[in-house]
């Protein structure tokens, strides 16, 4: 039995799978699982006699899985670095663009006091503008970007020293 602790969104579940017999355990239920690779990234599963077509691709810290019109990021808890759980760009308190983008406006200056939720930088991707906001109230300590700069998720564009509450 190989055991995986697999996270989707906020929920982790243990999946146990015996590679020799295809016996699988999930949520206290036993299943018969078999599979066949039908192409690159394509698996045909047979779960207790029912066929399921699954499509998989590598993704941040795990695999993106598409099944019957639903798409999930599935991550193995054992393989995740502690900070990275939940995927790139979602670490709380970091001002970083959600997708590759271009900076079109900078709304604050270094040393400026900002409220929680206040707009800091406006970025544009695929013609849509998005305002990156302050995750908490504080003082802008550093601006790491400039107008027209191409930026990517993970890059911290504005650093804020949190105000004491």
């Amino acid at each position: 039995m190989i055991k995986y602790h697999l996270r989707i969104g906020e929920e982790s579940k243990e999946v146990a799978l015996d590679p020799a017999t295809g016996r699988a355990g999930l949520d206290g239920q036993e299943h018969e699982l078999s599979w066949q690779q039908t192409g690159p990234g394509r698996l045909l599963l047979n779960l207790d006699g029912r066929q399921v077509r699954a499509f998989l691709a590598p993704a941040a810290g795990g695999r993106q899985v598409f099944i019957e019109g639903r798409s999930y990021l599935v991550q193995d808890e054992q393989k995740l670095p502690r900070r990275g759980r939940g995927g790139a760009g979602e670490a709380a308190g970091v001002v970083t663009p959600p997708t590759p983008a271009v900076v079109v406006r900078i709304l604050v200056q270094e040393g400026q006091a900002v409220d929680q939720g206040q707009g800091l930088v406006v970025v544009s991707a695929m013609k849509m503008e998005t305002t990156l906001c302050a995750p908490y109230a504080g003082i802008v300590s550093k601006i790491n970007t400039s107008l027209e700069a191409k930026v990517a998720p993970g890059e911290v564009l504005v650093e804020i020293v949190e105000a004491e509450q």
């Binding site: 190989i2 590679p19 599979w35 698996l43 691709a57 695999r63 019109g69 406006v122």
Partner: protein, 495 residues
């Protein structure tokens, strides 16, 4: 008639135009930016000309480069597709100067209707009902505030040069007006080169119903019935259908006549769309005219059996419309879903990247207009539309079921798409009942998050994949295994 056409666009619409050209025996010239080298729309053309760097201003919005590409390749006509220069009178003007045929309406018509406020004045004069609001734009914050107060909140802030939902915001209260104006003006300046704004009354829960029109150079104009396009996010359509479940035969005839009147008032030539808002009482109001082929034109093609691009080319070549209004008889029902590379669980954030897996649905009654394939890059510089999936069936419910089946089998990996969201719209009882309004998403699917319906199966699939295809093997992060992705083959041209 011209015998070589340059298609001044990219992605699915460039391919769609190209196919009709090929069927008509016309040679084709593709243009592309550095980000699109090797893209499907480039591959399928007889010739291809590089316009410039990825930025739209340097490539697909670069009138001089496009005219030069036409001249260098010997193209005698230019089809603009939608977006980019499609509604910019500078392109038809430059075509005229260069002796090229522009496949679309005359520059003067585009200019008049492109000014949404001028269009509103024109329609009011022609007796077409317009939405209460301003008839001239305004850049003065104080005046905008007074006009908004007079109309009564909520109001809709719109760009004079607008269209496609860009540079548009609902403003609920006076406090939001200033910031919204600034954002809208910035978006409008970027998208249309014109920051001017105006205000319209925000109608409560209308339907967006538009009519396809066709007008030839001999003064004949017809409409090809309506498209219902109320399912929108960020004021941009994501699902369109025809017929509209709310229209009676009588209302369709009245709205169609108004659409034709609007076209004729503007001296319209070629294909266009007259957009209306329709309220719960069956009253309709002129919204704007889109002076181009619409993204959603395939639903009209599926029900009328007409090829709108072929008709555009014929009209541009000076030929008369080959039919009259009475010859138009739509059949069945068609629904289109736009397959956007966006993350519907994160406010529809664009999701550029590399399409590592693309398994498109197939079968009777389906049409897929796609601009990508497995291995394609989705650049961050352009609209996130990947493809349009259209389902036709004899009635709406069958078309809905057909679309649902197709979407559930439409696997796209490597980028996020709105497919899971589309499934939930199509499966929603209010959609099934035909009760679609522009606030449908806000009302029924606000704060949407992915259903966990298949989550346990996904976990089992993950576990099986760990054994069947370990991470090091076939599916690598950089794209499908065994052959270079477009990223890798950029610059691979041999000289």
């Amino acid at each position: 008639m011209f015998d070589k056409v340059l298609i001044a666009n990219r992605g699915e619409i460039a391919l769609r135009v190209l196919r009709t050209c090929q069927e008509m025996g016309l040679a084709t010239v593709a243009v592309y930016s550095e980000a699109d080298a090797g893209a499907p729309h480039v591959q399928e053309a007889d010739q291809a000309v590089l316009l410039g760097p990825a930025e739209p201003a340097a490539s697909y919005l670069n009138v001089a480069a496009i005219i030069a590409a036409a001249q260098a390749s010997g193209a005698q006509a230019i089809h603009p597709g939608y977006g980019f220069l499609a509604e910019n009178p500078a392109l038809p003007e430059a075509c005229a100067q260069a002796g090229l045929v522009f496949i679309g309406p005359p520059a003067a018509v585009i200019r008049t209707l492109g000014s949404k406020t001028a269009a509103r004045r024109l329609m009011q004069t022609a007796g077409v009902p317009v939405i209460p609001g301003m008839l001239a734009p305004c850049m003065d914050a104080a005046q905008l505030a007074r006009e908004a107060e007079a109309l009564g909140y909520p109001v809709l802030l719109k760009a004079r040069g607008g269209g496609g939902g860009k540079g548009m915001r609902v403003v609920e209260s006076p406090a939001e007006l200033a910031e919204a104006s600034q954002t809208c003006a910035s978006e409008a300046a970027k998208a249309f080169g014109d920051p001017a704004l105006y205000l319209e009354k925000c109608l409560p829960s209308p339907r967006h119903v538009e009519f396809q029109i066709l007008a030839d150079g001999q003064g004949h104009a017809v409409h090809l019935c309506e498209r219902e396009c109320s399912i929108q996010r960020r004021h941009q359509k994501i699902i369109e259908e025809t017929p509209c479940p709310a229209l009676t035969t009588e209302l369709r005839a009245r709205m169609g006549a108004a659409a034709v009147a609007a076209a004729q008032a503007a001296g319209y030539v070629n294909a266009g769309t007259v957009e209306f808002l329709l309220d719960a009482e069956g009253k309709f109001y002129f919204l704007e005219v889109n002076t181009r082929l619409q993204v959603e034109h395939p639903v009209t093609e599926m029900t009328t059996g007409l090829d709108l691009v072929r008709l555009q080319l014929m009209i541009a070549a000076g030929q008369p419309l080959p039919f009259a209004q009475d010859d138009i008889s739509p059949r069945g029902h068609a629904i289109e879903c736009r397959i956007y590379a966006e993350d519907p669980g994160k406010s529809f954030l664009p999701s550029p990247g590399l399409i590592s897996l693309w398994q498109a649905p197939a079968g009777p009654g389906l049409r897929l207009d796609s601009g990508v394939r497995e291995g394609s890059a989705v650049p961050m510089e352009y609209d996130p539309i990947l493809a349009k999936l259209v389902a036709w069936a004899p009635d709406r419910e069958q078309a809905r079921q057909r679309m649902l089946r197709a979407l559930r089998g439409f696997a796209v990996l490597g980028v996020q798409t709105i497919i899971p969201f589309l499934v939930d719209v199509l499966a929603h009882p209010e959609f099934a009942a035909g009760r679609t309004n522009t606030d449908f998403i806000a009302r029924h699917l606000a704060g949407w998050q992915p259903s966990l319906e298949q989550a346990d199966l996904a976990r089992l699939a993950y576990a099986a994949a760990e054994l069947a295809m370990p991470a090091a093997a076939p599916v690598a992060a950089s794209g499908p295994a065994g052959w270079p992705s477009p990223w890798q083959s950029l610059g691979a041209w041999r000289m």
